[in-house]
Symmetry: C2
Subunit: 221 residues, 2 copies
C-alpha cells in the first residue's frame, strides 16, 4: 500500500514539476493553440532552440505532449484535452488565489465591466454560426489559426485588422476571439474597431476554453 501510494504521488509530482517552470508554461500556452515546431516555439517564446527542446523533452517524458515528424521538422502538440483542462485549472487557481495576477490582468485588459455588454457566450456564438449571421474573426497569428480554429471563422491576424476595416464595415455583425481568457488580442480588436465606428463583440474567452468544452475545431489554412 505504501509503495503504491508513494508511486502515485511520485507520478503526480512528475506532472506538477512539468508545470512548475515559467518557460514550460509559456510553451504549453502556445501549444494550447495548436501544434508547432520546435523552432517556431523558440521564436515565439524568445528562447534558445536547445532550451526549448530540453523543456519539450520534459513535457514529453511526462506524456503531456506528443510529436509528429514532417520531413526535418518535428511538430509538438498537447497530448489531449485533459492537459488543456489542467492548464485551464491552473489559470483559474492562479487568478483566484493571486491578487497579483488578477491585478495585472485588470490593469492590462482595461477597466473591468467596460466591455461586459460586448461579450458573446460560446452558445450564442454557436447559434450565430448556425444562422450564418455574423463574421467571426480569429485575430491570432495565422500559424495558430492553421493549427486549429472555430469552424467558419476567418483568419485576420491583429496586425492586419486595419487593412480590413472597410471590408468589415460593409458586412454584418463582427465577433472576435483569440487564444483564451488571458489573451488581449480580441479585447484590443474590439477597441480598435470601435474607434473606426464599428461595433464588434468578442467571445467570452477564447480558443483554449473552446477546446476544453470539446466544441468542434477546424484545422488548416
Amino acid at each position: 500500500m505504501s509503495d503504491a501510494k508513494d508511486g502515485l504521488f511520485a507520478e503526480l509530482a512528475v506532472v506538477g514539476k512539468a508545470f512548475g517552470s515559467a518557460k514550460r508554461l509559456e510553451l504549453v500556452d502556445l501549444l494550447a493553440q495548436g501544434e508547432r515546431t520546435v523552432e517556431s516555439l523558440a521564436r515565439a517564446a524568445d528562447m534558445g532552440v536547445s532550451t526549448v527542446s530540453a523543456h519539450l523533452q520534459v513535457l514529453k517524458s511526462s506524456n503531456l505532449v506528443r510529436t509528429r515528424r514532417d520531413g526535418t521538422r518535428v511538430y509538438y502538440r498537447l497530448a489531449g484535452d485533459d492537459v488543456v483542462a489542467l492548464y485551464g485549472a491552473m489559470l483559474t487557481v492562479a487568478r483566484t488565489r493571486s491578487a497579483d495576477v488578477e491585478q495585472a490582468l485588470a490593469a492590462y485588459l482595461g477597466v473591468p465591466g467596460s466591455g461586459e455588454i460586448d461579450i458573446v457566450t460560446r452558445q450564442e456564438l454557436l447559434d450565430l454560426l448556425e444562422a450564418g449571421s455574423a463574421a467571426v474573426i480569429d485575430v491570432r497569428p495565422s500559424e495558430e489559426y492553421a493549427a486549429g480554429h472555430i469552424p467558419g471563422a476567418r483568419s485576420l491576424p491583429f496586425e492586419e485588422l486595419p487593412n480590413a476595416v472597410a471590408d468589415l464595415r460593409a458586412g454584418g455583425e463582427v465577433i472576435t476571439y483569440c487564444r483564451g481568457a488571458y489573451c488581449v488580442l480580441a479585447h484590443d480588436a474590439v477597441r480598435l474597431l470601435a474607434t473606426e465606428g464599428i461595433h464588434a463583440r468578442r467571445l467570452e474567452d477564447g480558443m483554449l476554453e473552446w477546446r476544453t468544452h470539446a466544441l468542434p475545431v477546424e484545422v488548416g489554412a
Copy 2:
C-alpha cells in the same frame, strides 16, 4: 506586454511548483479531505514536523492553503474548491497519461469491471439520501469525517467495520464512500461486506469529487 506576460507565467509557475513535489501532493491529498493540524499531517504522512511545516509554508505562500489558529494548534485547509479542482485535474491527467498510474491503480483496486454494477452516482446518492432509504457509510478515519462529510452519512472507519456487520445486516441498503476516486477504502469495504453476505455499493468516487461538484458538506463529529 512582455513584462505582464512573464509575470503571468511566473505566477503560474509558482502554483505548478507547489504541486511539483510528491510530499506536498500527499499533504494536499490529506487536506482535500478537510482541515488538519501540522502534527496530524506529519503523523499521517510520516514526515518530520519541520518538513511538513516547510512544505505548508510553500503552499501558503502560493495562497493554496489557509490557516486557522486554535490555541497552540494551527489548522491548515485548502484555500478553495478551485484548488481541489486543480488537484482533481492533475489526477485525471496522471491517470490518462501515465500507464504506470493506471496500471498501479488497476492492480491495486482489483479487476476493472468487477465492481461496476456496485457503483452509485452522486445523483443517485442524493436521491437516496432524500428518500432516507439507505445507510451511507463514511469509511475514512473519524478525523476526516469530522472535517467534512456528506450530510446524513455515518462515520464508520474501515477498521471498525467488522464490529458493525450485524448492525448493517439489519438495516436497509448500504452505500460506502471514502476520499476520492483513488481511495481504496470504499472498494475494500464493499468487498469485506460481500464476504459477510451483505450486498453493499459504493459511491462512484469520493469526498474529493463531492466537493468539486459543490455539493453540500456537513462538518463536525
